[in-house]
Symmetry: C2
Subunit: 477 residues, 2 copies
């Protein structure tokens, strides 16, 4: 990959405009697509309104909104998501809101299924579109919300007032870029940029090109407050105060690494504009032989725990897996193992949610799988008489310990390292793994059984995790 | 070994007195030994005076002194050292002092050999005693000295005025203890307590028992200034300002570890008085099989460099070896190796100084002999645009590097570790060893060739270094 700054010549600007225009062309839905979507959204909204009208009296005053990128004209050509919200009066009990919401959902999407976020809601397909039908409360302001979805209508209103067709095109271009470089999405697997965040950034900077030029020079932490009303301090690398809620950072989910990735790729685009940054080809999954070759070439000792993942959505599973991975790493480091790198993978959730449990992997690559049989243990300085005597007395007659001897003024012993703590595989394959701070649901999953793979054995993971292993062993920015 | 404080009962005091009395009895020379020594010293001094009288006029006024422990009555029974000083007028040139000193020396010790400290001097034997005949200047005060030996007459004078027979006996007892626990001697191999330091400590505390009781409770740094005239600050764990020189710390050579060892053994003696602390049996040298068993049991990777030592006296060789060992350790640690423990040994110098070169060893015990083939290399934070671009550009096209990827906001690569840096034996057996900060004379010695031993191969060192290997693999306080 070329140096991101090397080709920054004076005429790069023209190339960049040409590239951005070409991308805009490609990601802007044509009139037929717009019409199809508008027709489908209108028909769905009508059906929803009919269903709302049939609800009992407490639901009187409820209305139906089309929200999200399709409502705001910022969806990428080919995306097929329609988000419909039914907004209920705040007098309605939460229980009724859920019940009425599902009733409307099933009326609009007779073949729909129920999903669960803060409220249950119905997802289904209609005319080839993926439709979410979500109930929310009609609160007075985004600061009064009862659940996160109550904010959405406010976001929708804020943006539709400000985004003209030209800016909407810029939003599409920036979304396509974020997608192309792998940082689009505020789900907890990706920890990237949400659509709303993308829209606010384009509004803030006046366009996609302007946003990318600014990003290239950011020195995080970076803070924007479009409504100039922020009241809270945030500890995040990027802060964009929600113009509908002064206490919320729209970029709270974004990881520092994904922000750095955007900076890297923005510079690369500015230096050498080309559309393939927007539409990269996915590399093929890594095959088992290639995994073995990497393990051999790296001369390291990877160990992997493979387990049937707990039955959780990605937004719950990934934080649990990351916490568990960090716990296992800390445990191994604490025992004296030297961690080179690590990663956690999970298979995609079955589309129908009803298949076998998906597998998840905690991969820790160590410098060496085993440790010496002795472990240095430093006691107190000899001059601290009472403590020192206690330490000395504890080890003086221990036939397994070397010492106590004196080093740097302290008593020191070399204790025997228990055999089960000398081998990372023994640590992970035994109950010692439960000494690690694990995500609670991952811990339960491990209690039901798991496999430990070591060294070239991890090649067996390529069947299911070839794409993740490609990313691990051939890491790009 | 029992807990040093556990047996500290009320009646330990009586036992202690009995033990100290028994030791005093054993280390005090009997009348026959005193007479023999007095006669030999007097005869030697007479011969020296005759030789001085024969010197040319510039040496007029030179006198002869018996100094050291035999002169002060603080030698240990069985010690057979007589130190004679010829003290010349300061008007004498250094060249003449050396010439006249040697002339007197050879006259007194016809079979003597020349040794070199700051001045050359003559050592030889006479009537079964080991005699040093050393020239010095007759300066007005110890602060006016031209070389270290000029101080000795002042020390002699200070102590003979203050040490009565009873205190001299206590000095003997304390010397015997220091010798028994291995910390007696201010040579740079031992880095322990000199005779003069021992004498000052006994004077300061009023006896051997009182000194040991005080030592047991010391919290280094500890400072004494018997003449209450100290002017300098010292960074040593024990400071005893020389009563004949306010700017000198008599304990400057003492290592913190040897001070800690004395504290440990003083407590052990106070808690459980017994004479075997004074007269321990030396453990037998470790045999090759036992070395192999330790290497196996410890599960570590010892590597040793064995070399013909440079032709230096111990006081020059040991500092060079220690500096070289520290340099090799730093080099290996810098490459990523994990040092468990280390030591340096040298064979005793041939008594006649004329045999084959003695061997010396730098031993570094590693957790593992080899390292992974990749090495993590962290670049700048991505947001530091110029630096970051430079780093990225350097590695982006390197087929041997993994990455650059982003971690914790920085560019990171995993570089290939050169094959010669993955194996500690390859490092030490190649010119890489000269990248280590080595003592200059050790470096020259290595340039003439050396051997590298690894793992169980170090058992081959047992022939020559069995006692050192015993100390290393079965370390006592």
């Amino acid at each position: 990959m070329p140096d991101p700054d090397a080709a920054a010549t004076d005429d790069a600007g023209d190339d960049l405009d040409a590239v951005l225009d070409a991308v805009r062309e490609r990601v802007t839905p044509d009139e037929a697509e717009r019409d199809r979507l508008a027709a489908a959204a209108a028909a769905l909204a009508d059906r929803a309104r009919e269903a709302v009208a049939d609800l009992p009296a407490p639901a009187d005053g409820a209305d139906v909104l089309t929200v999200g990128s399709t409502a705001r004209g910022t969806w990428l050509a080919g995306d097929r998501d329609i988000d419909l919200f039914v907004r209920f009066p705040t007098a309605l009990s939460r229980e009724d809101l859920e019940r009425y919401g599902l009733r409307v959902g099933h009326a609009v999407l007779p073949d729909g299924e129920e999903e669960y976020a803060e409220h249950p809601y119905v997802v289904g397909t209609r005319d080839g579109f993926d439709v979410d039908l979500v109930p929310c409360y009609d609160v007075d302001a985004a600061t009064d919300i009862r659940s996160a979805v109550d904010r959405t209508p406010f976001h929708n209103e804020y943006l539709t007032e400000r985004l003209d067709d030209d800016l909407a095109g810029d939003v599409r271009v920036l979304k396509a870029f974020l997608k192309g470089i792998g940082v689009y999405g505020s789900d907890l697997r990706t920890r990237g940029f949400s659509g709303y965040l993308t829209e606010l950034l384009v509004l803030e900077h006046g366009g996609a090109r302007e946003t990318l030029a600014a990003v290239a020079d950011w020195h995080p932490p970076v803070r924007f407050d479009p409504a100039d009303h922020g009241t809270a301090e945030f500890d995040d690398p990027l802060v964009v105060v929600d113009p509908t809620d002064p206490e919320r950072n729209v970029a709270a989910v974004l990881s520092g690494d994904n922000l750095a990735r955007l900076q890297h790729h923005a510079r690369a685009l500015l230096a050498d504009p080309r559309t393939d940054l927007f539409f990269p080809e996915s590399p093929p999954p890594l095959e088992a032989d290639a995994v073995r070759a990497h393990v051999e070439r790296r001369g390291t000792a990877p160990v992997a725990v493979a387990v049937d993942a707990p039955d959780l959505v990605d937004d719950q599973l990934y934080p649990q897996l990351r916490r568990s991975l960090a716990g296992v790493e800390r445990e191994l480091s604490g025992l004296g193992f030297d961690v080179v790198r690590s990663a956690t993978f999970a298979a995609d959730r079955d589309a129908d949610g009803a298949g076998d449990a998906r597998r998840a992997v905690l991969l820790v690559e160590l410098a060496a799988r085993t440790l010496p049989a002795v472990e240095r243990h430093e006691g107190p300085p000899v001059h601290v008489r009472e403590h020192a005597a206690g330490f000395y007395g504890k080890y003086a007659d221990d036939p397994e310990a070397y010492g106590p001897f004196v080093a740097d003024g302290r008593y020191v012993v070399e204790r025997e390292r228990p055999p089960a703590e000398r081998d990372a595989v023994a640590v992970l394959a035994s109950d010692r793994i439960f000494d690690a701070a694990l995500g609670a649901r991952v811990e339960s999953a491990l209690e039901r059984g798991y496999d430990v793979l070591a060294g070239p054995e991890i090649a067996a993971l390529a069947d299911e995790f070839g794409a993740d292993l490609r990313e691990y062993f051939e890491p790009a920015v």
